[in-house]
C-alpha cells in the first residue's frame, strides 16, 4: 500500500521536506510499526516528541494502516 506522511514545524525543517511518500508498505503495518521504521531511518525524529494523526484523527500505535492513509507527525502545538 501507499501512504503519505506529513511533517510540520521543526520536524519539517529537520527533514528538509513537508511530506514523505511511502510506496509498497506491508499490508499488516500499524502506526507503531511504521513509526519504529521511520525512527530507525530518520534519527532526528527523536529530537522532539510528537503525536501521530491518521486521516486527521489522533491515532494509537496499534491502529492498522490502510492504502492511501494520510499520516501527520504533530509536535507539541504552540498556536495562539
Amino acid at each position: 500500500m501507499n501512504l503519505r506522511v506529513l511533517l510540520f514545524a521543526g520536524l519539517a525543517e529537520r527533514a528538509g521536506a513537508r511530506e514523505w511518500r511511502l510506496h509498497d508498505v506491508d499490508e499488516a503495518t500499524t502506526v507503531g510499526s511504521l513509526m519504529a521504521a521511520l525512527r530507525a531511518r530518520h534519527p532526528f525524529l527523536a529530537a522532539v516528541p510528537f503525536a501521530v494523526a491518521r486521516n486527521h484523527v489522533i491515532a494509537a500505535d496499534g491502529d492498522l494502516l490502510a492504502d492511501g492513509d494520510e499520516l501527520a507527525l504533530l509536535p507539541p502545538v504552540s498556536g495562539g
Binding site: 514545524a9 521543526g10 525543517e13 529537520r14 522532539v48 486527521h56 509536535p75 504552540s78 495562539g80
Partner: protein
Amino acid sequence: MRPSASESPRRLTRGPIDVAALVREVATVDHGGVCTFVGTARRTSDGKEVDLLRYDGYAAMAEKAIEEIVSEAMAKHPGSRVTAVHRLGTCPLGEASVAVVAAAPHRDAAFAACRFAIDAIKSRAPIWKQEVFKDGTAWVGDPGSFQAAARRGGSDEP
C-alpha cells in the same frame, strides 16, 4: 435565515484578521455581551527580541479542530454565538495571530465561552509558532530547533 456561526467556512487566514468582521458575524440583538480576545505578536520572548512570528499549521486538521472548539463553546453556553480565526504564515509584531469573539445574552457566558475557546485552540489546534530573532529562528516548544540566521553577504566579510 442568518447562517449559524459554526457554518463559517474559514478558520484560518494568511493575512490580517478583521476582528470587527468577526464581531459582526456573531453579535445579534439577543446578545447583551460580546467578549473579544485578540492574541498578538509580542516584541519579546523570554527576554529576547523577536522580529516577527511565523505560524505553520496542518490546515485541514486545524480547520476541523477550531470548528469543533467553536461548536463546543456554543454548546456549553446556550444562547451564545462564537467564532474564531487563526493566522498562518508571517505575523508582524503587534498584529493579531488569533482572535476569538463570543457573544452571549449576559457577560459571564460571553467571557467563559471566549476563555474556553482560546484555551482550547492553543492546546488542541495543530498549529506551531516560530519566533524569528535577529540571530536565527526557533520553533516554540522545540528548543533543539534553533537555526542560526544565514550570514548576510557583505559587511563582515573580509
